[in-house]
């Protein structure tokens, strides 16, 4: 049974006004437990709108969202449960920090769940550890942290709810390459350690290729493709047609191939280096 599925989900923007438009249309997706799904698409393709349906922030016009076998709009209680089962971390989450200390801020979610003090304490420390925040930072004001630390503190605030599905909307936006790699590494190890499902919204094909197990491509409010990284990335022509670029290394490999040097396919620099090194001795 999939942990999260959308059945025929449609959402309208500006309903009832002349500017009414379909933000997403007839979305059918099943997400299996333990997957790390990269959701990619052009700006305005409906990725963010779709993920806001998964935890019940937006109510679909049509269709159902099933989390853990339950329709989240069945009653008020199910909707609230969905908020905690599906942890959604928005773009630029550092702008949601508000408490006096980082510790208090991370504990905001667990507190809202009505957990006991000891349990909250345990979860905060664990979440801080997952995102690589040092213990001494927990007593500082969140506004005294550096940009990257703030972001990790905010992500910890969502992880501390220990959701079954963690959704991160553009978690690497606006970070330098080092900060970006650090966040991606953190997401990967979080998933490996907890075995939970992770959805990563991004428009960087490189980022998704690095860590995702499956890829969901959105275009104009609909699901364009959904499959493993290899399945999706091999459709480079279709991807380009909807305004998405395959990673630069893949492009290099394609050009080499069209010039008579078939090295197979690679989507990350590391994989490409591996292939070239393994073939290097033979072909030169």
């Amino acid at each position: 049974m999939p942990i999260l599925s959308a059945n025929g989900v449609t959402h309208l923007y500006n309903k009832g006004t002349p500017s009414q438009s379909k933000a997403i249309y007839d979305i059918n997706v099943d997400i299996e437990e333990g997957e790390l799904v990269g959701i990619i698409g052009h700006t305005g393709s409906g990725k963010s709108t779709l993920v806001q349906h998964f935890n019940g922030l937006l109510k679909p016009e049509n269709g159902q969202i099933i989390v853990d076998g339950k329709d989240i709009w069945k009653d008020k209680k199910s909707t609230r449960e969905a908020r905690f089962k599906v942890g959604l971390c928005f773009q630029y989450p550092e702008y949601q920090l508000f408490e006096e200390t980082v510790y208090k801020d991370i504990s905001f979610g667990p507190k809202n769940m009505g957990l006991k003090e000891e349990e909250i304490h345990k979860r905060v420390l664990l979440a801080a550890e997952y995102v690589g925040l040092k213990k001494e930072l927990l007593e500082k004001s969140p506004f005294d942290l550096s940009g990257g630390e703030k972001r990790r503190a905010a992500i910890a605030g969502v992880i501390a709810m220990q959701p079954k599905v963690l959704i991160l909307d553009e978690p690497t936006a606006g970070l330098d390459p080092k900060g970006r790699d650090r966040i991606l590494e953190m997401i990967k190890s979080y998933r490996e350690r907890t075995g939970s499902t992770v959805l990563l919204v991004s428009h960087s094909m490189e980022d998704v290729a690095k860590i995702a197990t499956k890829v969901l491509v959105m275009n104009k409010g609909q699901v364009e493709m959904y499959g493993t990284v290899d399945e999706v990335y091999s459709h480079s022509v279709e991807l380009r047609n909807i305004g998405l670029n395959v990673p630069q290394v893949s492009k290099v490999f394609e050009i080499l191939k069209s010039n008579g040097m078939n090295l197979g396919s690679a989507y990350t620099v590391e994989k490409a280096a591996e292939i070239i090194l393994s073939k290097g001795g033979a072909s030169v």
Partner: protein, 273 residues
């Protein structure tokens, strides 16, 4: 709730009202507001209503948006009408039963006040619907410029107003975003008693203040980088110029005021002293 704010809302168009000089529109609106309170009988009241209807028609602003601007003041209109009906004395008694005394003067005053308030709001909302906030503040700056003699920093005030208006939609978006982020962490904003609800706003207000201050600092830096010094001697890219249609509408407005005065004198006041 927050999306109902109509202040500074501009309806894009190219009607005569849109093309009028903003300074003239402000002057005309002020004249109209004064003349609203000159109406003393049904004839002049009718002329005022007709003028309001014509203004709305010329502006080509959809009626739906006009009603939206009246909605927030509906309570005030009903409340003042009720007060007037029950408390104004004089004229012929209409109802005289135990403690309820309603007179013709009361009924007329209520009707007049209600229509006056509605016309006032409709016509002034026409001003904001047909004038962009930037044009409006430019015009206010120009109209207030005589105050510079008294060392009033008119251009600085105008810039502050422009910026404030400019950031209303930005802040509305920001509130939406922060609210969603906190809801995703289980913040409960809809339930609980009054105090609990106030407390539930803290996670929204604190980040809002922080980001507003950050925005203000960034904006100030950006203005510095473009060598903004403000103060006197600043010129405008779009110069305001009065042209024929501005004077023509002013002439119509003068006719309207004259019409009201004449109707008042000819038919007399409807309220009995």
């Amino acid at each position: 709730m927050i999306k109902d704010i109509t202040i500074g809302q501009y309806f894009n168009g190219n009607s005569l009202l849109h093309r009028l000089d903003a300074r003239m529109k402000i002057i005309l609106t002020v004249i109209f507001i004064v003349s609203i309170f000159l109406c003393q009988n049904f004839w002049s009241l009718g002329l005022m209503l007709l003028f309001t209807l014509v203004t709305v028609t010329i502006s080509r602003v959809p009626l739906k948006m006009v009603f939206k601007s009246i909605k927030p003041i509906a309570i005030i209109v009903v409340f003042t009408s009720l007060l007037n009906i029950f408390y104004i004395k004089g004229g012929t008694p209409v109802v005289d039963w135990k403690f309820i005394h309603i007179t013709s003067n009361g009924l007329f005053t209520a009707l007049f006040m209600a229509l006056r308030i509605i016309c006032l709001v409709v016509v002034s909302s026409m001003l904001t619907y047909t004038t962009t906030p930037t044009m409006l503040t430019d015009a206010i700056e120009k109209l207030l410029s005589p105050l510079k003699v008294f060392k009033v920093p008119v251009s600085t005030l105008a810039m502050m107003m422009t910026l404030a208006l400019r950031f209303i939609p930005t802040l509305v978006d920001e509130i939406d975003r922060i609210t969603n982020a906190q809801k995703a962490r289980g913040a409960n904003l809809d339930d609980g008693n009054f105090m609990q609800r106030i407390k539930a706003l803290v996670p929204i207000i604190v980040p809002l203040f922080v980001s507003s201050i950050r925005r203000a600092i960034e904006l100030a830096d950006a203005m510095d980088c473009r060598c903004y010094t403000g103060g006197p001697g600043r010129t405008r890219m779009k110069q305001m110029k009065f042209c024929l249609r501005d004077f023509a509408t002013l002439f119509v407005m003068v006719l309207f005021v004259a019409g009201i005065v004449v109707l008042n004198m000819y038919f007399g006041a409807v309220l009995v002293k």
